[in-house]
Symmetry: C2
Subunit: 311 residues, 2 copies
Amino acid sequence: MEQEILSTDTTSILSPAHFDFSQWSAAQLLRVEQALEGWVGVDTPADLGQAMRYAVLDGGKRLRPLLVLAAAQAVQGQPQAALRAACALELIHAYSLVHDDMPCMDNDVLRRGKPTVHVQYGEAVALLAGDALQAQAFELLTPSEQEVPAAIQAKLCRLLAQAAGGQGMAGGQAIDLASVGLALDEAQLSHMHALKTGALLEAAVSMGAACADVAPNVQVALSRYAKALGLAFQVVDDVLDVVADAATLGKTPGKDAANEKPTYVSLLGLEGARLYADQLLKTSLLALQDTGLSDVRALSALALMVVQRSH
Amino acid sequence: MEQEILSTDTTSILSPAHFDFSQWSAAQLLRVEQALEGWVGVDTPADLGQAMRYAVLDGGKRLRPLLVLAAAQAVQGQPQAALRAACALELIHAYSLVHDDMPCMDNDVLRRGKPTVHVQYGEAVALLAGDALQAQAFELLTPSEQEVPAAIQAKLCRLLAQAAGGQGMAGGQAIDLASVGLALDEAQLSHMHALKTGALLEAAVSMGAACADVAPNVQVALSRYAKALGLAFQVVDDVLDVVADAATLGKTPGKDAANEKPTYVSLLGLEGARLYADQLLKTSLLALQDTGLSDVRALSALALMVVQRSH
């Protein structure tokens, strides 16, 4: 089975004609940054609004928003719903980083090359800023029904809540916490990551798709794409944690090993982890072909970006 | 104006015929407890699910759920939507208490007579449990569209997100944090409380009303009822913080004074605060009359309960 996947020709989907990914992603990032700039923490009292903006408006990779917009483009989804979904997911991601960095969790002082939110604003404000960002994510998904139809609003809220909660991201973080110092096998490790980082990445694709009416078989193929991409993301993260330096990474490297956290590198070795990431990339690209959608160029380019990134 | 309000006869609305509030509230509480029992933290990994259940299933007053159900009854709202809204609000309330009690916030070790969540499960799990409870609130509001129409789901998510976020509860908490040691005047104090505790209490009423189609003038009157009740709730809280002991209160009393937090008692004196609470009760009951709704018995009984409670 693996042999078959590896030998399949994915050249056409990797290098689609007439598609400039950097141009596409620059245009989408501009939309996302402008929207976040206008929305996040606005009219919010005291330090809270500032801390929310500090946490979000600092040039993250915006991978989740780009995935939402790429998926919405592939299904020709409602643009305003897609933009709101993109920003909502980024707020959930940002809040999880704020809380993750706190002293009672990872106790990290550096994030994207800047002091973390609790270092900058104090722990109490960081806690509240994370909480308020999660609430604002759902606020972004529920504008007037003239702007986004109620049926899409409900679907987006449902997908986001499931992905963020105890059976999604927060659940994965709890497993991660409980697994420090334990020797997880590959199945346990991939289950943890499927929740901790995978759930939001999968939600990005399914939320993008939810901006239009999509046939079930297309949803299934998109979900296979997203699962492989989510896992690849984590495998590459583990590789980068070993090989990159703090300046490139924008955060403290080597923390996983120091914390005795299980990683794909500790499990498969550095070369094994790299090969696994390549294999997951191919799986995700084949799933894209299976969608039968005509414009999956941005989605395929994003999968490539996830595996080839240096930070 | 105040004189006029105080002299208005509210006897009929305070003692409605043929209504047994204890029976009504016992029946509603049973529905809410059973629903929470079946929903909260179920199928959630590691300690997380247990911590979520510990935070919620411990016999709080359930004032917010009762308000939702009373408002839904007054407007003859869809029962399943109302039950989900009631539980969702309670999850938001519970998560706010979990985070509020943490060492970086109020550092409280006792809540409803039991060790607080971070004392019982550790700070990291408490942080995650609060986060997961907030997400689950929105999950409860977004079941299948066969169960609750999408238009109601979207409306409920919108109201809850606004009430919980930076312009609602979390914003009020930020103002509260920033005001320690400051001499707030009454306008500033009431603004802080309107956000910190008022927003969720108002959301309870508006979410209950959103379970049906309600005329704008009815919404306005219900909102006046909820605003007065929310403020009364806080005034009574400040009174109880001074006069009640830990056993009755189920939490550490006298903390506000110890923390140099401004309160209605420090501002108006004990007797003044009590009189103000009574006046707010009358305001809320008059607003109920203005709704023109035929069955506001549970809503009026709840207002009375808020002002006359001993904990």
